[in-house]
């Protein structure tokens, strides 16, 4: 029993990434057409395009929002070997080429990478405004804005060389005095002889450097996406990995003398769950807000959701798949005017939700 609202994203090609702001009221999309678009939900529930701009000179791979405590801030990374940080200016006079009076400016361009930047993520807000990027040549860079009120100043704080090409990274959102700042990085290197493809890095306050503390050797296939689960007060960390299947890895800090001295944790790594439901490569994994449901998408064209039940075992609970049937007349597509080179008229977006149909002969699995 799902329903959906369609928002015509007006990108002329496939979307590479969609990111929602902290409240789910704003949406940023990026695409091969090198544009980033920002959408706002109005009081009636319709999504209005409030900004659209050419962000890079190559395909934009990822877009991500900073925590609202820093204002309205986005970061993007691209095939053009740069990552950029954008801030929204709330001006009094609207820009003539844009709709509304919302205007995003580039605060900084991070040009240190020599290859395509594959992922960009903001760090946990308690550490100030930090940004991590990873590149196809295996370099992970950590940037920081020392003055959070002035986003044009960013310093490259750390550069870490990972021996394999990196495709994705994830910050561990849970922080406490008990465990240090942690990053997980995944590599899509195809050679199994090169060993484990997921690396855990931790920041040691003592030596003020990022150190690789673990390699997850059980995963030797290329990794395409990686995500730490939001922490529900657990004593261990959960990491979801998109590789040839969906993996959920648990990392439990083990107290030991060496780690107490260095300030880094020794982690016990276990595979909590492994799902081959997609039956083929899994491209993306994403946790919900409370870290209770994992959504994965794979080459089988499906999005699959997994949930933990009351006896602590993970079970698949629902599947989404595209099919060819169209929604009738409610949405309009502006293909004609775009071909003629005219500015496309604003596409009317409805706030209506339509019920999603199901594929026959399947029985619903209870959530618990």
């Amino acid at each position: 029993m799902f329903e959906a609202q369609e928002i015509n994203a007006e990108h002329k090609d496939l979307i590479h990434d969609v990111a929602y702001d902290y409240y789910g009221e704003r949406m940023a999309t990026c695409s091969s057409d090198q544009y980033v678009k920002v959408w706002d939900q109005n009081s009636e529930g319709k999504w209005i395009l409030t900004s659209s701009w050419k962000a890079h000179s190559g395909s934009v791979w990822k877009v991500t929002w900073a925590h609202p405590e820093f204002g309205q801030v986005l970061a993007t990374c691209s095939f053009d070997r740069t990552a950029a940080v954008w801030e929204e200016l709330v001006g009094e006079t609207p820009c003539p080429a844009e709709r509304g009076n919302r205007h995003w400016v580039r605060r900084t361009n991070l040009v240190d990478s020599r290859t395509s930047v594959t992922d960009v993520k903001f760090g946990p807000k308690t550490q100030g405004l930090q940004l991590a990027t990873c590149s196809a040549d295996g370099v992970i860079r950590i940037y920081e804005a020392p003055d959070v009120m002035n986003l044009s100043q960013w310093t490259l704080q750390h550069e870490v060389q990972c021996k394999l090409s990196c495709s994705c990274l994830s910050w561990n959102p849970s922080l406490s005095k008990n465990h240090p700042l942690m990053l997980a990085v995944g590599s899509d290197d195809t050679n199994p002889a090169n060993g484990g493809k997921v690396f855990i890095y931790e920041y040691s306050d003592n030596i003020r450097r990022w150190m690789k503390t673990e390699t997850i050797n059980s995963i030797t296939d290329p990794v395409h996406d990686i995500s730490f689960s939001p922490n529900l007060g657990r004593s261990f960390h959960l990491l979801a990995v998109a590789t040839k299947d969906v993996r959920i890895i648990s990392l439990t800090p083990i107290p030991d003398n060496a780690s107490l001295q260095s300030g880094l944790s020794k982690l016990e790594i276990q595979t909590s769950a492994q799902f081959d439901d997609h039956g083929c490569t899994v491209w993306r994994v994403c946790w919900n807000i409370t870290g209770t449901i994992l959504a994965s998408s794979g080459d089988d064209g499906c999005v699959r959701m997994f949930k933990m039940n009351y006896i602590n075992s993970w079970k698949p609970v629902a599947v989404l798949k595209g099919d060819g049937s169209h929604i009738s007349s409610e949405t309009q597509r502006s293909s004609i005017s775009s071909a003629a080179g005219l500015p496309t008229p604003p596409v009317s977006q409805t706030a209506r939700y339509i019920k999603l149909g199901t594929i026959a002969q399947s029985r619903e699995v209870p959530w618990h």
Partner: protein, 351 residues
């Protein structure tokens, strides 16, 4: 007489509930203004009182869709009411009957986005006060607007009247208003003055506690009672000075509304975010009843308050905030964030 409480669940949270005044004094109709809904509404209700059935069922006679949360609503007379919205607008609405007998609500006048921030975004119109046909509004943009129901244009805007969001406003006299802001700073404005500066400024308390509701005594408008966000009631006599005469630590959480009973000014009603609905009665003993005699007005007395008031809970404490209350004769209406409205009958207002 025992009070009876009738609750009705209405599937929306009501921010303001108001009796519709009746020319003969006894209303059986009221409006509710909702908040926090996908689509907010103002509903006009009637209720049937059955002699055999002690239960009273209110029912909706008209639903009026409203944009934004209803932040304040007041009746000017039995057929007109004014409502303000969290999207910054103010509306004058009229209740009338069609030839068919159907009741309708129509917009007589509206001021769109009366309160807005510098970038054009809507800013909530948090409250308004009325004096005859004059209306004064305040909002989160820190502006004060003076309007009159008879004209479409704004009579006057006091820009940047306050550097903080304004929460509440009342008319003290036809030319004087009192405003309260987010940090408990109260300002008195003389509307005849051309300057955009208040005549007097004072703080509600030392600790930046905001005033959440303001009311004045029905017969002595210089006597102001304010409820604050910690649940206390503060009383001033503005003729004397701007230091409070009394501070009553009352509710356990923010006071949502306070009303003096229009016909029995020795009685006060208050409701709070902690789900409490209270009835305050001054102890009667001879001359205390003589309100004209200021020295013996119990509200002004600096002596121990305990001997001066009795406080009654009109209904058991609810587990969600009570946002609004209104009085008519011996009945009290209140609305709660549990999406229910309550009518309390036979309240002991008569001696």
């Amino acid at each position: 007489m025992t009070q009876n409480v009738h609750g009705t669940f209405i599937s929306e949270k009501t921010n303001k509930i108001r009796w519709r005044p009746d020319p003969f004094g006894y209303s059986n109709s009221f409006i509710t203004g909702s908040w926090d809904n996908d689509q907010n509404n103002i509903k006009l209700w009637n209720f049937e009182e059955n002699e055999d059935d002690p239960d009273i069922y209110p029912f909706v006679i008209k639903n009026y869709p409203f944009e934004g949360d209803v932040t304040e609503a007041k009746f000017a007379n039995p057929d007109y009411f004014v409502a303000s919205s969290s999207l910054g607008s103010l509306y004058c609405l009229k209740v009338s009957s069609e030839i068919t007998g159907e009741t309708i609500i129509t917009e007589e006048r509206s001021w769109n986005k009366l309160h807005r921030s510098k970038n054009g975004d809507a800013s909530s119109c948090t409250s308004f006060g009325m004096y005859e046909s004059d209306i004064v509004t305040v909002g989160e943009d820190g502006n004060i607007n003076l309007l009159t129901a008879q004209r479409k244009d704004i009579v006057r805007t006091i820009d940047e009247a306050d550097s903080c969001s304004l929460n509440c406003v009342i008319f003290l006299k036809f030319n004087e208003i009192l405003t309260g802001n987010l940090r408990g700073q109260m300002k008195i404005w003389d509307l005849r003055s051309n300057e955009n500066k208040p005549t007097t400024t004072f703080m509600l308390s030392g600790d930046q506690i905001a005033a959440t509701s303001l009311t004045f005594h029905p017969t002595q408008r210089h006597m102001i009672v304010a409820g604050d966000e910690e649940g206390s009631l503060t009383v001033w006599d503005l003729r004397q000075n701007i230091f409070p005469v009394n501070l009553l630590s009352a509710h356990s959480d923010s006071v949502s509304e306070i009303h003096f009973h229009p016909d029995h000014p020795d009685q006060l009603f208050s409701c709070s975010s902690s789900g409490e609905l209270w009835h305050w009665i001054t102890n009667r003993s001879g001359t205390l009843l003589n309100i004209e005699n200021v020295e013996t007005n119990p509200w002004f007395s600096t002596d121990s308050i305990k001997n001066k008031f009795e406080v009654f809970m009109l209904m058991p404490k609810l587990h969600k905030p009570i946002n609004s209350l209104d009085l008519n004769r011996n009945r009290v209406l209140c609305s709660c964030d549990n999406e229910a409205i309550y009518l309390i009958n036979n309240v002991n207002v008569y001696n």
